[in-house]
């Protein structure tokens, strides 16, 4: 009994600590009076901060959702063949290449941002096509930065992968493409999904790289928020953050109810 109570207390504390920042933002967003700080508890209840969400926040949010999706998909498309080749092929210096693929995690993001900016200007100088301040430029940089997440999860799945299943499929007459499509990829799905999810989340909240690559045409959501808060406190930031939190929670809940998250997490034969 005491053990259960202690467990419940510990779990409750952990959850409270995890959810506290979200609660602070959600409660603070309901204050009508504060214009310079987060008022907890609200001094004047109201939804004024929700009504004053600037249209450019919505534009930036839409851009970031698209950017996160494209980056996660691009990183996955790159990581699948790379990881398959690295775990199964007989190329030399595999470990070194794997370290290289994880290198973006070791480089400070600000350095990455400046490097990409310099690179885009250099490319532009030679080709006339400047990728900074464009969705393409941001997507390339984000894909590079988030690829290690997908690589990491896929490699860990592939290292525990049972090759005999593919061999069985081949013996039973499956073509190499058929095996890849019907056996390999479904078995990689949990790792791929987890890696892509990390990649999306990282891209969605990324500031240091985006701050150098955004401009007058494209500004991702976190950069828009960052720029707003550098000058003064804007209560509508709390409001839109709460909206995003609610949308995220509802989406995950709906996916769980309608699809069941286990379809993504069912490791099956790879276990």
């Amino acid at each position: 009994m005491i053990r259960r109570l202690v467990t419940a207390l510990l779990l409750g504390t952990v959850f409270a600590l995890l959810l506290a920042p979200l609660a602070v933002i959600a409660i603070g967003s309901l204050d009508n009076g504060a214009h310079a700080y987060i008022a907890i508890p609200p001094e004047h209840f109201g939804i004024a901060s929700y009504l004053s969400i600037r249209p450019r926040f919505w534009v930036a949010l839409r851009l970031s959702l698209l950017l996160g999706t494209v980056s996660a998909v691009a990183a996955s498309l790159f990581a699948i063949p790379a990881c398959l080749g690295l775990t199964r092929g007989s190329m030399p210096a595999k470990e070194f290449i794997l370290v290289l693929l994880r290198a973006p995690l070791q480089i400070p993001a600000l350095v990455l941002g400046v490097s990409f900016l310099e690179m885009y200007y250099t490319i532009g100088h030679w080709t006339g096509w400047y990728a900074q301040d464009s969705f393409t430029g941001l997507a390339i940089a984000h894909s590079f930065a988030v690829a290690p997440y997908v690589v990491g999860t896929l490699v860990s799945v592939l290292q525990r992968y049972d090759n005999s299943i593919e061999e069985a499929a081949t013996i039973l007459g499956a073509s190499p493409m058929g095996t890849l499509w019907q056996i390999t990829l479904p078995l990689l799905r949990p790792g791929l999904f987890a890696g892509a999810l990390y990649a999306f989340a990282t891209s969605f909240s990324e500031v240091p790289i985006s701050i150098f690559l955004s401009g007058s045409h494209v500004t991702p959501f976190p950069v828009e928020i960052f720029n707003s808060l550098q000058f003064d406190f804007d209560p509508s930031v709390l409001a839109i953050s709460t909206v995003i939190t609610i949308i995220s929670m509802v989406t995950v809940f709906a996916m769980q109810r309608l699809l069941g998250l286990q379809i993504f997490l069912n490791v099956g034969a790879a276990e």
Binding site: A36, Y121, N227, F231, D234
Partner: protein
């Protein structure tokens, strides 16, 4: 005579009230601050420019970030046509040949500025008056004497309630230079200032205005080395006041905001029209009323001086002249950061 009339007419057509279609299809990009400042510029400059058919686009970021963008773009089309920047970055901008000459004849509003505030490479558009901002109510409640010098922030009664600018914050150089002069140093020798920073033992080092304002408004921070504009920005949230400590033979420190024309940009006429609009009365008044910075247009200063409730600022020309202007030829920012990291950093 006819020539002068022609010249006057030409100037009016260049920089007077915008005419419909005057800037049809012209897009000007300005590198400036985000948040409320962008809104102020959009409302008072961008909207007027749009009436003439032009479009003002914003590249947002701190001046140092925008300088980094400019450096990365050297030899390529610049990321913006106009840059709003700070006094400490002007030497780097000039040394890197990033500036294009400004046609002052196309900016009639400079006539309302002190001639020291502009030349063909830059035009000052606002200043901030840097000193010590404190919470009047809290000081009264705790019977704490009003600080007169930076050293007063080291008082035991303020322990845990003082905020100083982080070395990367916009207010860092004015605060450090002010403290240096007070403690026997100068722009060339900030060691005494760093010793004072260490002695004050700040509760935190603010890195953005919003961080400072949150602390001041929530009463976690009772006093801070910061600009007077915070009093205006938090007018309805906190009972703040400001004092300007003696600095050399002056009081307080001025931080200056400039517009510069970026080399490699096009549409010179539109650029100068926008620079002129920054100095127009509506924008200059909004600079203070909506953003807390002090305008430079003499007519705007006069109007604000006569307004009740603005007496916390030094708005009379002789009062502004009595504030310390930093000699940036003696400022070595890299050395400042190194010294800060050695002395104050973690």
């Amino acid at each position: 005579m006819r020539f002068f009339l022609f010249l006057l007419g030409a100037l009016c057509s260049l920089a007077g009230p915008v005419q419909a279609g005057q800037f049809d299809g012209v897009t000007i990009r300005i590198g400036t601050f985000g948040g409320k400042w962008r809104d102020v510029v959009e409302k008072n400059v961008g909207a007027a420019f749009a009436k003439g058919g032009g479009k003002l686009e914003f590249v947002l970021g701190q001046p140092a970030d925008n300088l980094a963008r400019l450096i990365a773009a050297r030899g390529a089309p610049p990321p913006f046509d106009i840059l709003e920047t700070l006094d400490n970055l002007l030497p780097a901008l000039a040394a890197g040949n990033y500036l294009a000459p400004i046609d002052l004849a196309a900016i009639p509003n400079v006539a309302k500025l002190d001639s020291k505030l502009y030349d063909t490479s830059h035009i000052m558009v606002w200043v901030t008056e840097e000193g010590i901002v404190y919470n009047r109510t809290v000081f009264l409640e705790h019977n704490i004497p009003v600080p007169a010098r930076y050293a007063d922030l080291a008082a035991p009664s303020l322990k845990g309630h003082v905020s100083l600018p982080d070395i990367n914050a916009g207010g860092a150089i004015p605060a450090l230079v002010g403290m240096a002069h007070e403690a026997g140093g100068s722009e060339a020798d900030i060691a005494p200032a760093l010793a004072l920073v260490k002695r004050i033992g700040a509760a935190n080092y603010w890195s953005s205005s919003s961080m400072l304002q949150t602390g001041l408004a929530s009463k976690d921070i009772w006093a801070a080395a910061a600009q007077a504009g915070n009093v205006q920005r938090l007018r309805h949230q906190a009972d703040l006041a400001v004092v300007f400590p003696p600095v050399a033979d002056k009081v307080g420190v001025l931080k200056q905001g400039y517009l510069v024309k970026v080399a490699g940009g096009s549409q010179s006429r539109a650029i100068e029209w926008i620079m002129n609009a920054f100095l127009d009365m509506p924008m200059q008044l909004a600079t203070f009323r909506e953003a807390g910075q002090v305008p430079v247009n003499s007519a705007a200063l006069e109007a604000l001086h006569d307004e009740p409730g603005n007496d916390f600022l030094r708005l009379a020309p002789q009062d502004i002249a009595g504030m310390y202007r930093i000699d940036f030829s003696k400022v070595n920012e890299t050395a400042y950061v190194r010294a800060w990291n050695r002395t104050v950093g973690p």
